[in-house]
Symmetry: D2
Subunit: 442 residues, 4 copies
């Protein structure tokens, strides 16, 4: 890395890219990026051009010596990379719409990470990621792979288990969002908050929370148990927790817990959106269309403020923060998806977990959690079972395993429903799931 | 135990007692019972008399020197006991009817062991069992406590965690029923079948199955995946498994798994019974009524064959088999609920599990399982979380913990539903839950 | 196995073989051996002939239809075997003499299993065993490998870790000897004693001891703490334990513990024998010479009683008992070396341990031990570290690892001594350690 | 802590105190100490006066508003303390001399932490520490206890296991010394070195070593394997490691490993000193005498440079650094003794370990190590067994346990020697071991 840093962003045509660019510009003093390669596939060529040109204008405005390259040739880009970030979406938003809508037809939440939607996103994504891993092994074996592509937990598990790449970190904006929510709740600056995170991606808990290093967990639990603190607790679905549940759980939930601890209410809510044709994919599709219209403006040379409404806020910022800490061996604490290595007692040492880590040049080092609190141990283990069966199905194209993955998923919990949903979704996503159709033909 | 064995059966007025008597008579050569004390509470006095007199007639017919005592004085009975069996039902079948019916009002399965019904059965039962444990500690500290009272897993967990009694075994007829089902499926004698059991009570899996010691797991999985083998697989609910699920799971399920892997179908089925007023409690109530009519017949001196239709077949037989193996230090393999001691890797060493054990005079010794197969690890951990939170609620009378227990239970999976169900059930079972109402008053 | 059983004994020319033959004859009803192949190497041809002919005379006398084959062609013998037993000694007794004498020159115990002698016996033996494993994989993949070749723990570890053979059991007569010693001490029949064994080969502890299933541990510990009970406690070296040590340890030691808990006394004792040229190898060499003279007698058709003085009593008997229990799926408890699978908490699940197991047709199933008692946990872990580093050195021929293995061994505990001993022993055993000299040449 | 910090130093009359004072003065900006109480016992009154007056002169010179109090009343001092440091020596240097000399009479290393000397230092120290813990619980329950009193590992284990104090950190200068040694070896500034520490106190390994976050382990192992790098590797005893051992171990050793991996050489070396009457205690005694002469000089108002030759360099500095990081919630990495909480897989979660931790206001949080490398796992477990048996002996005064502790210690490895040494040392330290003599009288 002596001559400056080479970063490769796969899925570079994503609407998030301007935030990433902004991040690199802001942190240039610590993280002197020399080359930034934005890579995309044929299907995303137009978006790549639009976003890439905005990126170039942003860099130009900054006056920094960062070279931005746009390419469809992934292998050319990867050569000697220092960091590879992945933020692509196999099948684009149309696929997401199917992930959400098909399960709802059966009265089941799609849930794009740990539910049926997540299973199918994983089935589409994991083979591509493993392919990228093979390229990294050959072309830039010392590079760190920073993955934001969902389902990030399942993807990290699959890379650890089915590739030779060990330098992977899975990244999510949920923990940072929880910290910001707590900061707002307590009316203190975000920098003063620290949470002990433990669990899995989109199934992470805050086991303790500190202001300036002093635990304020009891106070926070009390506040969260107060139904009038709606701004924080209703963050996903406009639904608050029952105070008795919050008190007895005695840990901070993440927004995605709504799907598992409020399943019926979430189904009802999403079914209403479903009827109206307003699932998340549709909303995002419209937002993205508007964003790309903005990005086309040749006078735009900053990240447009409208991007923050896109959702996924802080994702790219978290990525740049992580890359900076690795590059500078900073030793700060960040919650990421990494190999467990004993941090959580009842999860295998070689599985991926999402925990607070010290970020060093040698990668994230998890802080020991010990055993998870009794009430949360079950659900975390369940989602880990789901992730592992799903990852195995993705790699093998095993139809039975895909059905098993959904049957053991608490959002489905029925072998019959699992089969119906798998059948319909396999058909719907056929073009992106060659591993399953190859198997069937053989 | 030199002068013969003293056995105390708490809940002696149960309709199962004649099977127990028959068991003691049949195994007298190995297990020379000298005294059998049938204990019940005031509420069950009449039943105790009826069953007790039948027991006496059965013993008389056998010509064996077994003394049968009937008493309402538990402490008098426990003095110097060698084995204490517990098979009582706090609140009788009326309570069970509530356990089943109230959750169904909310569209949730009652499930009398690992669901909301099981929570409330546990809340009623655990304080009584712990009270018995205190008596055992004082009056017969060397005795083995053989518990068949459901929820047997939660009860065993509570005794291990909240009493000083270490000599407890929890017993269930589910594993023996699985062996018999497999024997029938393979058309071989039951004695030739052995299953490696692992999991929790009513959440137990067969990890391997042998005929004469040779694994026939692949064959059995194939047979179970064949929808025409209806007699075995439809054993609980008339519903068969999807063959893909069975193959990918690659383990034998127990009947209670229907509730967790076919939740929606089971809810629909039970709601139909609910509408008709035909939940299990109602059916059993009628059966029991008929049985007690039979038992009253002063000419009856055998276990009436009708008892086998009662359900719970083999329960008492399994109990006598277990007691015999402990008494004779037999060293045979039986699946029971006992302290884990590392047998299942991801469950705490001091928790109760249901696993194949060697039965010795020193108690059951679990055979090491190692880690559970990935697909089942999650649900087992989840039910263990449920059992532990529920047991804690039972001991403390903590309302919030009761709500937490139901929220993390996959049959409920909603804090709001959990609260509604807990509220209605607490009120309905008020008379048997003093620990909660004491708390409220304080 | 329908037509009778085929057994292959590698190292068939061993002086122990007559005991094995006697065992097969005595247990023929349960274990109908059809073919017994005694295999040896060119170097042992003469002994094979002598022992083989005695074996044939013994079988003839029995009138049983067992065919005894003598061969130097291991692969011919292995074809379709049901059980393979290994009892060979690479380098014969001359090698053992070196294993014992060279370390003593440096004031260090040779200790033929867990000390420097054991390291070199392992370095010579493991490559041969792994070669046999490759043959088994090809020629009789369903066979069970029953290994008595020392160091049995290290060999079992190596087979589990570096071969594809999973059906291996390591066997030792130490546990059975401990049971017999306790039986004698308590003056009860051996069949009434059961010990809960846990640890490693030649580093096994009795964690509890029962007569007729009732723990008599306190009584036994008291007896063992009584210095007048010399017959049991002085079993290896004529040295008794300090009573305070025995009481505080609160577990039964095995004879080999003398080397680790009485190191200085054992060194002094062996140095005296060393000076006199009377280390164990010399003694055994003389005994064997006498035994083979006896075996040559064409009128001898029984196991000569003198064999019992050879040491290693019950070894072959234990082997036949084990084979019988596997063949008949007996389900009795026997202490053997097998894969840990979680039985001992702080030892890896995939390592070999010596624990009480249920013996089934599917192999030994360890009974869960949980965590070892605090005082013994360290030494067991240390010997496991030694076994693993030693096994790795044996497979790789890595000189540095051989030195590391001895340095971490508590009998050596010096890197300088380790190097001196390794250097001299490598040279002395050069002919049997090609893996080390190939490396050096390269 | 709003009004400034109150620090209590038990054993305030120690010769190390000036370094502590210097540390507080240097870090005042970060760590505004308001009150510093130096506490000692009657026996140490004179030293306390001398050191205390020097401390006051140092503070005066600094011009900082730190109040230094000298007292023999520990309870008065502890009231509302924020940090309590313990650096006392029960029985003073005369006791150390016995710890060293008596074992050497038997040809055994005294080793003042993990050997016989450490056992007896633990037996004298642990009851006093537990007494201090009871005072802390009552008088300053929120205080952190920072213990440097050896044997620091055993003491931390005892506090975690036998007191109600959870806020304890055990501190040692060995890890910092290793970092400095490596820095020197690589000729880089100490601040650029980071080591992944794991193990126990005085039995700690460096599992990886980084310069500016980049692993240089291979280079360091090579350098350490080079016998010409004598300045680092001969740090304890003038003895270097065999290069083969260092390479195969593939981890950094600490100086105390010489006792376990070079036992014979160390015994020989210490026996020579023993004969000359020059064991460490004698040397230190002379050094201390000289230091106190210096301290008496009323014109001295700085830490005299001669203190650095005392040994124990960086101890007090490490303490001030630790206290500062706790107070300021710094989040830097420091190696300390704390509760394992799963950081090292094969050590119980509730035991003390010495590992790299993140230091926060909520205390040290260990970074997950996973399982220790195979070659070091055994010795670490052995010393943990020793520490636990020793701590139990210290608390109970159980004579048999004291003998057991020494028998399982690899430096003794003989029950007979253990008994002889325990007997002579109990008598020699009689005045400081009331728990043993009370037992004998009863
Ligand atoms: Mn995310
Ligand atoms: Mn049951
Ligand atoms: Mn042996
Ligand atoms: Mn130290």
């Amino acid at each position: 890395m002596t001559k400056g840093i080479k970063i490769v962003t796969i899925g570079g045509g994503s609407s998030y890219t301007p935030e990433l660019i902004e991040g690199f510009i802001k942190r240039y003093d610590e993280l002197p990026v020399r080359e930034l390669w934005l890579v995309d596939v044929e299907e995303g060529k137009e978006k790549l051009e639009i976003v890439g040109n905005l990126a170039k204008r942003m860099v130009k405005k900054s006056g920094l010596p960062i070279n931005v390259h746009l390419t469809l040739d992934r292998r050319e880009a990867l050569k000697d990379a220092d960091f590879v970030t992945t933020q692509f979406r196999v099948g684009l938003l149309d696929a997401r719409a199917k992930d959400e809508r098909i399960p709802l037809k059966y009265g089941v939440l799609g849930q794009e990470t740990n539910g049926p939607g997540g299973l199918f996103k994983g089935l589409r994504t994991i083979p591509v990621i493993l392919d990228i891993c093979r390229d990294i092994e050959e072309l830039c074996p010392e590079a760190w792979l920073i993955n934001f592509t969902n389902p990030a937990g399942m993807v990290t598990e699959a890379v650890l288990r089915y590739s030779n790449i060990k330098k992977i970190v899975g990244l999510c904006n949920v923990p940072i969002g929880m910290e910001m929510g707590i900061a707002k709740l307590l009316d203190v600056d975000h920098s003063r908050i620290r949470i002990d995170f433990a669990g899995l991606n989109h199934m992470v808990y805050g086991l303790d929370v500190y202001v300036d290093g002093v635990s304020v967990k009891d106070q926070v639990i009390d506040l969260l148990s107060d139904p009038t603190n709606s701004s924080f607790v209703k963050n996903v679905a406009g639904l608050g927790w029952e105070p008795e549940f919050t008190k007895a759980l005695n840990a901070l939930t993440c927004p995605y817990h709504m799907y598992y601890y409020k399943t019926r209410e979430m189904v009802e809510k999403e079914l209403i959106n479903y009827e109206k044709g307003e699932t998340r994919a549709e909303v995002v599709k419209q937002l993205e269309k508007e964003l790309f219209e903005l990005y086309k403006d040749p006078n735009l040379d900053i990240k447009p403020p409208q991007l923050e409404q896109r959702g996924g806020a802080y994702y790219s910022d978290a990525a740049v923060r992580l890359i900076t800490s690795i590059y500078t061996d900073k030793g700060d604490i960040q919650p990421v998806n990494t190999i467990n290595n004993g941090a959580i007692a009842s999860i295998p040492a070689d599985s991926a977990v999402e925990v607070s880590c010290i970020i060093t040049k040698d990668g994230p080092k998890p802080i020991s959690v010990g055993d998870l609190p009794v009430p949360v141990r079950g659900l975390v283990q369940t989602i880990k079972s789901f992730e592992r069966v799903a990852a195995e199905a993705a790699v093998t194209g095993d139809y039975d395993k895909a059905i098993l993955a959904l049957t053991i998923n608490p959002l489905v919990a029925s072998d019959k429903l699992a089969k119906q949903i798998v059948d319909e979704m396999l058909e719907a996503h056929k073009d992106y799931l060659p591993q399953f159709f190859k198997t069937v033909q053989a």
